[in-house]
Symmetry: D5
Subunit: 120 residues, 10 copies
């Protein structure tokens, strides 16, 4: 579902960020839509996430009933499975509901670091 491409600079730890301010899903309690911004930060290993497929991946949440906490952890699990990064952090900043604004952040760090710094 999420396309990847070969990282051309695997010898260097570097960070890629994708920010999607157009995330929307459905509240499983009320059936009303939720809105938010999803930030993905990661250090690629051998694979990078292809941007267009990432966009289509987020579209699948549009009609899905899901809690804020679950959505952020699920996105992290799916993206880690797709590109097997050295490190990844996913943050969801959600619109005010009932007067309260919520943020959820989850992080993954690969069990065996394989990173090597270029030219060190």
């Amino acid at each position: 579902m999420i396309d990847v491409f070969q990282n051309k600079y695997p010898g260097r730890d570097y960070e890629i960020t994708h920010i999607n301010p157009e995330y929307t899903s459905v509240c499983p309690m009320t059936g009303l839509p939720d809105f938010g911004t999803i930030e993905v930060h990661y250090v690629p290993d051998k694979l990078c996430i292809e941007l267009k497929s990432l966009k289509y991946y987020f579209l699948e949440y549009r009609n899905r009933g899901i809690f804020f906490e679950t959505a952020v952890n699920q996105i992290l699990d799916d993206l880690v499975a797709a590109c097997k990064p050295r490190r990844m952090q996913v943050t969801g900043r959600f619109h005010t509901r009932g007067g309260i604004h919520s943020v959820v952040t989850a992080e993954y760090i690969a069990p065996k670091r394989t990173s090597r710094k270029a030219k060190r």
Copy 2:
């Protein structure tokens, strides 16, 4: 009073933030209302705070006479008792009174950390 639900990702340390810009209570000295924004940041263990009950919890301060320092520490104690988190920080940013703007921040860290990072 504060409802909780099962954390579906207890194997991962992740942070949840709830920000309530509509906090109001009553000054115990003057009887006049105080206003502020309460920020709750926490790392859940087995339980997460249910958002709607959190909203109702804050409403109970509306007619209560309480000092800034007490309110922040009391909220921290109540929320820790309700969800037994791995870590929690509560910050209150209060409106100017007598020309002075006040902020109070208190933190709790669970005595025995039980957190395990996913896939490490």
Copy 3:
């Protein structure tokens, strides 16, 4: 001069901030008024600073001739003497004089830490 009250949560290290954007004193060189914002951040031990007396304390600078560097250090010394905190930082951000904007920050840390974290 500065009133204090008993800290109800001495078992927990927590931070209190008071920001006064209405500080004014007199330049000892020119006799002209100076303006600035004074920020007080502290971790209380057994005593907290009473807000109204803090406001009156700052009023005493209104007609006093004092340099920026002296004012910040003097405020720190006076507030430390009054409430004997575990840690305190005072920052003064002063209006532009002669096209130059100045900031002075001084910090105090109690010689023997007596802090204990709640429930650890």
Copy 4:
């Protein structure tokens, strides 16, 4: 292609930043232009980057088909080759494409540090 000049203060580690908000290249997939801001931060060793030649260097990307990830790493490699710095970081902040805003950051640290702090 990138001119350099002698660093007059090689005995001191200091940081130079150049920010170019007028970066543009061409998307290799669609042939449409991409836009972004490139930030270069570095600690010079014996050579500094000449500003005018840096400007002309960025102009060469104007009609080049290149991915975000490749552009940032290529700029880092070219600038490191030109001035052999003690440390360099390149960040590209790219305009929204498909509703998603991307940032890429890569860093180089010289294998053998030769820096000496002045007067220490």
Copy 5:
């Protein structure tokens, strides 16, 4: 050239900042004026920089042909020589030239620290 006065609180490490948004000099290549903001942050030892003489010191750059990198390092050297601080950092943020915005930061740390914290 730069006047100093006795630091009344030598027993305490504290930071003084002076920010001058009205720095201007002349580009040695083109003869055209450059503009920028110079920030000076320092921890005084026995001497503080007198503000009015600092203002006059900056005026001497108005008709001087000097590069960004040289100006920041020269200001650092001159101010260190004048007040012999425990630590000093000088940052120059210069206006866009050729579409590129530049920042230069240099730091000095005294070889033998003589600082003592008050009351520790």
Copy 6:
């Protein structure tokens, strides 16, 4: 579909604004979602728009394929039909598509003004 209630102050021309930053629909060309903020400004005559039904009205656009220009004019027509205001303006501010940000504004003014100013 849009509920209304009696205007309690028909003797006075006054303005009501409702701003919905959570508008989303579907592009009829690409099938991809569009996002935007809809602003409704109106002077009520005998009827006011009920806020909750307005929210549900906007939800019906979530899965509808519609152009920006049509959406704004359609919302204006529907709301005018529902509450028969003295004047109404609808503005849609849409997210960037293809690098271009679009705004559409349409206005209705009742053919026969029936407004009377209170107490004049």
Copy 7:
């Protein structure tokens, strides 16, 4: 309920604005609190509104169930009755409810203008 004092400059049309960001009332539908900022702009005739009594007047809304549209018009009526101004405008900017942010503005203009410009 609202105290007034003699306008010392009745010969001149001038504008007074009071902005209260601490307005709160109760939603008559849900019983939940509403929050907002009330702005009062007026040109006094013979009487000015006393600031402290205005503050106490707003406090009476704290536990009152009232709609946004009614509150703004009621405040306008009450303040006009109290100080009989030449002109008055009241605006309420209310916090987001159900994802929608509302603003209500009502204006009063005295039937017989009695204003005279000074020295004309």
Copy 8:
């Protein structure tokens, strides 16, 4: 070159805005790129500008040598010829060159107004 589509609401004067922050052309004096934001505001008559073709129209300026004043007037002439609007305004806000930031605004108003307000 610029595609148009039928205006579905010709009976109503309404305004459409398209803002392109990714305009770039070449300076005819120096051959160096210029950058800017082009804003198009218009009231359609029988035709609306198709957004995708507008995007491709702007791309033709990428390698064209043209002055700021000419570009804005040329864009206005081309868009007026394409969609024959009731009114159109084009503004170009260009990046700083030689320390000076320039803005050019030109407007067209159709010689014979044919607009009719809906339902008046």
Copy 9:
């Protein structure tokens, strides 16, 4: 008290603005200091206000007990008397007191306009 100098361009109506963010006086009710920003806008006739004497004029309010409404009108009267302008507006924007922020604006227009536009 307020010095003036000859307007060198009396044949042209032009506007001069002086903004003083360092206004302070004393509340006649409580004896506590008030703070605010005073803006003076005027079209000079034969005389302009000398800036240094304006600064000293504002200093006289520092220890004076005066209401917001009176201060703005008094400043207008004093400055009009001093420079006999064609038009003058004085606005005071005062710090929050009791949770309410106040603004007062008064305007003077000379009874017989003597202005002539240059070269018309």
Copy 10:
């Protein structure tokens, strides 16, 4: 001194703005430098101001002793003489001196309007 070029669109009234945030001159009282931003807005008749010569024109103020009011009027007179516009406005926004921030705005309108709207 100020170069001009032929206006290619004399049949249309359109506005050109040039903003120079790097204006500096010398205070004739103190000999100290003044700083500010000069904004020039004009509707050209047959001639436009050449941007590079405008930049050099402003450089001549760098070492000139001149008051704020005189500078703005002098710039207006010089630019009107150079390009004989249909209308021109010059605004100077000057840095704070003695705690007071000043703005001066002067406008010129050609005695005989020769403007013709395109295609009217």
